[in-house]
Amino acid sequence: MSRRTTDGRRILTAFAWLTTKDWLLVIDRDPTEPATPLREARRIELAALLIASLLVGGAVVFHTRQLVARLAAEDRSRVAAEAQLAHSARLVSLGRMAAGVAHEINNPLAAIGELAGLMEDLIDDQFLASSPHARLFQDNVRKIQQHVDRTRGITHRMLGFARRMEPHQDMVNVNDIANEALSFIEREASFRQVELIRQLDADLPMIKSDRAQLQQVFLNLLNNALDAVEDGGRIMVTSRAVADSVLVMVEDDGCGIPEELHDRIFDPFFTTKAPGEGSGLGLSICHTIMKGLGGSLSFDSAPGEGTVFRVRLPRTPV
């Protein structure tokens, strides 16, 4: 309760009966007098609360950041995986389409070939003497057959391509695949006077691997090398057998890869090429392919001096 003293000050008074003695405890308190210890306690409490909430908040922010980063990374790798899947699915369906087209062409082609063949069979001396055009007939019938042969070469290559698009493990000669890949860039290299040097170990052992996928990797590395070198530059392809693997190196004397980009080279969608020129998937796919084949893909690069990509393939099948 509140009461006033004789000199007019307001005082708070509390009573309490003591249970053990017949005494009444009376406490007077001046409300204006500072409640220092109480305030102190409240201040400490506030400070503690503040620090705790800061700590909790910090932890929440930290973990959320990490979570978001991880989600983003997962999302990126998922998108990359999907892109790669779509890419290989596209290749397979392209292969199937090529096979279908080749088939559709082969049947009428076979008929054309036989018809022309029969015409040639039937041309005899009597026929040749019968008309001034007979020789021309004979020549043309032969030419038709030559063109049938040529077209057959094309459709059979298409069938071969279709078969190669399906995932397939075979005994392969890595040198052959490297040479095949080199043949694809020879033209552009000669236009730009880029020197292609082959240092292929003739005693390279055959290994069990996927020819089409390896070709894709080599072609990618060679194309990158070609993009990196100046006109008149140099690209060297080396193959070598080491203890338990076969090593293929694609080396160029081009612009090199800046140090700060080394970590991101194999990231999906990372590209230094102009928009629309590179998907940023090439090396990422190569990296995944090499892992899938039980090998690895690595590189060394000195800016301004060049880059070497190393493809390592296991000798023992995976």
Binding site: A99, A102, H103, N106, N107, A110, E114, G117, L118, H156
Partner: protein
Amino acid sequence: MAIKVLLVDDETSFVETLKRRLTLRRLEVLTAASAAEALALLSEQEPDVVVLDVRMPGMSGIEATREIRRTHPTVEVILLTGHASLEASMEGMTMGAFDYLLKPVSIDELIFKIEDAHRRRNLRRAGTEGEPGGPDGHGGGGG
């Protein structure tokens, strides 16, 4: 004696032309436009070698191969395919086809293959006379 060949393909202009060309090369040639027709013809006059297209409407060349091997175990089958379906051709080989060729095939190559198949048929017949009931053990195929 001339080798007797049965050509089976749904492409009539192909079959007819090939027949004339093979006839010019002293082979005796029968033709059929479908597997069913071929099987009917087979029971009337047995050829030495059947040249079968893999892909035909109705019964496929693969099924026909199986049927021919069952009913006429000494008749050799050569498959002709225009398709990349290596699997189908391989299946045909396990069915007991002598070999398969990719269309368009050169006439010389086809004739060599027919001659090889004919040679194996003679071996088979010599074998089965002593031991009736089994073309087995001759599985697989040449080239």
